[in-house]
Symmetry: C2
Subunit: 607 residues, 2 copies
């Protein structure tokens, strides 16, 4: 038994089997971090953002996980809307028709005892049968597959031999299940998404997503990098957290398809550069300082077991290529999905989240850049912001005549599959963009974003000393308080849209374009944003509304394509080698463009 | 704190850091097994062989580890002579002159910050520099090596890049140590031997050996296989024991050379088929029943980390090819060392230990077989037998006129390096062969091995109801008892030599030879045996004494050759594919040959 000096407190999280013993005085956020329970920490544990409310045994009201210090054994419940949950709408991959040419194929080997004895060993028999019956000259057998060969005799009948890239036997089984499964995973800063496929048909069996459990160590990329710089074991900690998270996601995905995760024979992986460095346990310090050079960009496939990823013992992970420190394999996946490199017309692809990635070009020339948009476009850092989950205000309309506000709320989906209206609890990214655009159009804010105290009198209030616009009154909401957009929130949106606008103008100038014929919006943001509002704010270059297309989760689509067709892996690798990376900071005129772009829709250049 | 019901006893072994808690009533042998402490168990824990005497805290006299039940916390000291120790004499590898062409070479890469920034990532810079400056087009970088790239900047100056087989970067370091180390390991049923080399010079830096800790689960191959058949987790248990043992041996070898085991960049591995199956965690059931077919024979190199072998994170293990279920990679290594496949004259190679492996042939035809000799030739299963360590009677001479016995004893080597005479404690393999041959020549035993009670009256005694010959009287010994050879011991030697003789006669007949021009004795046995005695017993075919050569640890030499030259790995692989394996059991006439061969020197065929 422990002595009083070393008394530890037991913290358990509902739904997690792990038990954690912590020193008295440890915060719940810190305890959660050690086992990878996802609790957001937008303000870095300062108690300001109020996004980490959890239920603690013995306390009636929710507590802030970052402020609550543990001095006794407690049980913690992390509400679904701040922990992981299925963002089925956000992350659904389109079933693109892609020619099937997976990395792993199954071959059948019939056992004949007499033949078997003609060989020096059981493995030599299998090797030679693959050559004789399937014309396949494999180079090696992975050693865990060997262990499964012990029982082979005629009575076993047939073996299923799984071969990777026509050269390595990665699994041998006597099961009659002819399906071969693969999984594509996209590691986002906020969300992990998984697509489970049948590699023999190309069909997507199930899709799951969950909150990246690393959010407990910082909401955005820069705060994760800072975490690694400040903590000696930060890299290995975040590495372990993401590996555990991916394993959890894989297990849930497989459970829902009622297969075993050890039946997964191949994995394709996309994600931003920071996430992929951490996934491999590679230090991210280099991504936090100029010139933001990544340690690696193109990788050979890695054995899943080397990283502790719990799929078939012999399976490999294919990592899509990174382009630069802030343009990761998620952008490669988007490019692979949208194929601008095959297009005659010039295409602009915008993937805006906490970070904005922009790709511009066609088959002759392709360039890309990234810009820091901050979390505003996803509802983060906004006082009443929340993720696009049930209870979030997602569209807003303001009548310029009387300041009447109309809004819609993301409904809950009941167990019967029916939508159920809920009172608003906050406002998500699309609602914020809408609201700021509508405030501008209604004259509530001026061109420079300043909120006019004398406009819309009944809606303009002072909240914590800040001028704010009431979107939903306390009486209408689920939280018993007004849902507002503050002056600071408007500034956040201005900075986010300015980052995108300035980056785009630099790119368009560099490519000497006078007009754009097509804009593709990738990612969840593009799916839900009101394009008229974005245009009103000046987020995109002027172009006809019908030339703007939201393509959904193109990064997910791209990783699926790479999973299903190895030729496509080669294709994107070659494209990435030729993509020009534009470093905005070193571009002449960027600072000026950025300053102009903070205006709504923008300040016209004096020249 | 534990409740009385679950009270466990703490067992510690001197020199081992691990602590083991066992249920009351557990034997010391069982406790030792769980952490791989080597305690012999020749009689399978029946208390008969008396070979497992250990010192137990609180007890004045040594205790039998297999019989001593633990009911309180105890500390155990396993004497050096039954546990691991340096068999420097036995296992010393000859420094054969072999052309240096190791699998891993180090290349120097100079860092220039301006150049570095021209690349998409730090790794691409290294990759391209290897191509530009060394003409080396590598295919991949192992991911743990990537993690070491984070700090590269001009200030780091130079990188040492370790490349495996000219295609994979397995390690990157900024250290200035230009040496690259490799280790060759031979896993014997009884002894593990390691040879640490500088791969850049080919020099053997240090040699170590230790008892195979699997002896705790059975002294010979068949008892290990039986252990796996009887215990559900037997294979994984023996796998873990051997991995731990090899890691311990590697660490001790590196400690004595004052290098870190993580500086070892390559490993070549020999060993018998059963040991190599267990090393890989592959079931050995198939090796215990006809047709004794191994699961694998030729393998691609395996990442050391996959097996938990603690050398450089990216290093590979090269396993020499097996020939058959009872003719392992140790025999391949012997063949590689002796090169009969290049010889014009026919060579017979005998490697006799618990199992005898015989290779016969020349560049035109090569065949091999194995025979079960039992442990007698190594001093096992013999009442007063012991290993060839200090205190063992190693030569015996009997005067036929008066039965006077002269013997020599293996001396201790003092800390000053000088030999120190010790009183005998037992008799080792070479002493036993000598003794039985001399007993035959002195007329103490007849042609059929029967001990004549009326011969050598003062030396013939009854011991435990068995007629025995006193080699050393109690007054002359260290154990205060007579050292004897019993009638049963003579039978064991007869069976061992008969196995070899019969196998040889079958092989010679198959190859249609009338005479042999050269016999090579490999292994410790060949090094120490008195050839006249072996010839007197009829162990070898008749041939001039000077055509018999002992070459020492040829298996060790062969694994060293494979470590130092990758061309040789290919060479032995090709040779092994052509070696004919003779299965004695299915050979006509083997049983008759065996029966004849039990006589001394043999019964002449009636025909």
């Amino acid at each position: 038994m422990s002595t009083p000096n070393t008394k530890k407190c037991l913290v358990t999280f509902k739904g997690y089997p792990e038990k954690i013993f912590v020193d008295p005085g440890t915060s719940i956020t810190e305890a959660a971090r050690t086992i990878g329970v996802a609790i957001p920490s937008i303000c870095g544990g300062q108690g300001k953002c109020q996004k980490c409310r959890v239920e603690v045994s013995g306390f009636e009201k929710p507590q802030l996980a970052c402020q609550f210090r543990v001095y006794n054994d407690v049980q913690v419940i992390v509400p679904e809307d701040i922990s992981y949950s299925e963002y089925a709408i956000d992350k659904e991959a389109q079933e693109k028709s892609v020619e099937l040419s997976p990395a792993v194929k199954k071959y059948s080997v019939t056992i004949n005892d007499r033949d078997l004895l003609n060989y020096r060993s059981k493995w030599e028999f299998v090797e030679d049968t693959l050559r004789r019956e399937h014309g396949l000259k494999v180079e090696k057998v992975d050693y865990p597959a060997l262990a499964k060969l012990k029982d082979i005799t005629e009575s076993a009948g047939q073996l299923d031999v799984s071969v990777w890239m026509n050269k390595e036997v990665i699994d041998i089984s006597s099961s009659k299940d002819e399906s071969t499964y693969g999984i594509a995973i996209d590691i986002g800063t906020t969300t992990l998404a998984a697509y489970l496929c049948d590699l023999s048909t190309g069909k997507v069996l199930t899709t799951r997503s969950m909150l990246n459990p690393q959010v407990a160590c910082g909401e955005d990329i820069l705060s994760r990098i800072t975490y690694c710089l400040k903590n000696r074991s930060g890299v290995s900690e975040l590495h372990e957290v993401i590996i555990r998270g991916v394993n959890r996601l894989i297990k849930e995905t497989c459970d829902s398809a009622t297969i075993s995760s050890h039946q997964i024979m191949d994995m394709a992986l996309a994600g931003n550069s920071c996430m992929l460095h951490l996934f491999l346990g590679v230090d991210v310090a280099t991504l936090g300082v100029p010139p933001f050079q990544p340690v690696f960009s193109t990788l050979s496939d890695i054995k899943a077991r080397d990283l502790g990823i719990e799929i078939c013992d012999g399976a490999y992970i294919h990592v899509l290529p990174l382009i630069a420190g802030f343009i990761g394999a998620d952008t490669s996946a988007v490019i692979l999905s949208e194929e601008p490199y095959k297009s005659e017309e010039v295409i602009l692809i915008i993937d805006a989240g906490t970070n904005g990635e922009l790709v511009l070009g066609n088959r002759d020339r392709l360039m890309c850049t990234s810009c820091a948009t901050g979390p505003a476009l996803e509802g983060g850092s906004i006082i009443c912001g929340m993720r696009a989950s049930p209870g979030a205000i997602d569209t807003v309309k303001i009548d310029p005549a009387n300041c009447a506000v109309e809004f819609t709320v993301i409904p809950e989906i009941g167990k019967d599959g029916k939508k159920k209206y809920v009172k608003p609890r906050g406002i998500c990214g699309s609602g914020i963009i809408d609201c700021v655009a509508q405030m501008y159009l209604a004259g509530v804010i001026s061109k420079n974003g300043h909120m006019k105290r004398d406009s819309c009198i009944p809606r303009i209030v002072q909240k914590n000393g800040e001028t704010s616009f009431v979107v939903a009154r306390a009486s209408e909401t689920d939280i018993g308080e007004d849902i507002v957009i503050t002056q600071g929130d408007v500034r956040s949106v201005q900075l986010a849209k300015a980052a995108i606008q300035a980056a785009l103008r630099i790119m368009i100038k560099k490519m000497k374009l006078d007009r754009l014929s097509r804009i593709v919006l990738a990612g969840a943001f593009g799916n839900v944003i009101n394009i008229d509002s974005a245009l009103a704010l000046g987020m995109f270059p002027d172009c006809p509304v019908d030339s703007i297309e939201a393509v959904g989760n193109a990064a997910g689509d791209g990783s699926l394509i790479a999973l299903l067709n190895t030729g496509k892996r080669e294709e994107i690798r070659n494209v990435v080698e030729k993509v020009e990376h534009v470093d905005l900071v070193s571009e002449e005129g960027f600072q000026r463009e950025f300053a102009y772009a903070t205006y709504i829709p923008r300040m016209e250049s004096p020249g």
